[in-house]
């Protein structure tokens, strides 16, 4: 009987901790930054929780801003647009390059060549 109560207490405590991302993995990512030696428990928790908030924030912002009305789907380009247009997400522009179709790229190449020819 008492064992069961103990299990419930631990479960409740875990729920109250209220995180859905693995802290161990977060720590690994943090430690891969240069010159990071020790990370205390509070810092690890805050980073993990902040990451959750970040995911929610990025997903929702991108979705709202994007073509959701038509497709109802959050796409890569929604994210890339959010990175470019929002100051908060600007640090992501390097890893979220806007994609263009190959044919559009080739077209723009041709146009650039035309400009060069005219010079």
């Amino acid at each position: 009987m008492s064992g069961k109560n103990m299990e419930e207490k631990v479960e409740q405590a875990t729920d109250r901790k209220n995180i859905s991302l693995p802290m161990s993995r977060v720590r690994l990512i943090m430690k891969s930054s240069p010159d990071v030696s020790c990370i205390n428990q509070d810092a690890l928790f805050l980073t993990t929780k902040a990451t959750e908030l970040f995911v929610q924030h990025l997903a929702l912002s991108s979705y709202k801003n994007g073509s959701g009305k038509e497709t109802n789907t959050l796409s890569y380009s929604d994210l890339a647009n959010a990175a470019e247009e929002s100051e908060t997400f600007q640090f992501l522009t390097d890893i979220l390059p806007k994609k263009i179709l190959a044919r559009e790229y080739l077209k723009s190449l041709e146009e650039m060549e035309k400009v060069d020819d005219n010079l």
Binding site: S33, S62, Y105
Partner: protein, 205 residues
């Protein structure tokens, strides 16, 4: 402790995708050879020990779940978008950590603490997270305190110090004689989940 289990599933560890920028073709394919590493890139010498910070990701299932819960219920998420957010997340963590680490160094401290993280967020434009995070931290601390009451505490030195010879005298039951005829001191310590100031003795008579 949050259900994180190691996985060799490529989709959870990394991403596969092709990206093209305006100026260059950026082609990324990442192969996982099935090992436990978080590193999705094969190095020339086959070493899996070297992880670049951008190669370590949080599990895609967890990330996708958070995204799903954030957008309206009718919304869907492209697979590519999930993989992309996975990368963004690692970038975010590194972003915050570098800033916090820098501050730590400036103040000649070695350990990054909660304040450093919160300050970094404020500095980097995530000020809106700070207040909610403080509340979450409070709840987390309370939850951890509760757990401490559940996990067994190691016997403290204080308990040992109280075990002097004097504590035995006068407390032995007179008739405690073992089979081989020798009198023995019998002390039984209860395992308790809280530190007890003194030693509890149970005497068998």
């Amino acid at each position: 402790m949050e259900g994180d289990s190691s996985t060799t599933d490529t989709t959870q560890l990394g991403i596969t995708g092709e990206y093209m920028t305006g100026g260059t073709y950026v082609l990324q394919t990442q192969d996982d050879d099935g090992d436990e590493s978080f590193n999705d890139h094969e190095d020339g010498n086959g070493s899996k020990d070297y992880f670049r910070e951008q190669d370590i990701y949080l599990p895609i299932a967890n990330v996708a779940r958070i995204m799903k819960n954030a957008i309206p219920q009718t919304g869907k998420i492209a697979k590519e978008a999930k993989e992309c957010v996975q990368e963004c997340v690692s970038e975010f963590i590194s972003f915050i950590t570098s800033e916090a680490s820098e501050r730590c160094h400036q103040e000649k401290r070695k350990t990054i603490n909660g304040e450093d993280i919160l300050f970094a967020m404020s500095t980097l434009g995530f000020d809106m997270y700070v207040e909610p995070l403080k509340l979450y931290l409070q709840k987390f601390r309370e939850a951890m305190k509760g757990e401490k009451g559940i996990t067994p505490v190691a016997v403290s030195e204080g308990l040992g110090e109280e075990l002097t010879d004097d504590s035995f005298t006068g407390q032995l039951p007179a008739g405690l004689i073992t089979a081989d005829g020798q009198q023995q001191n019998v002390m039984v310590y209860t395992t308790s989940y809280q530190q007890i100031p003194g030693v509890q003795q149970i005497q068998f008579s």
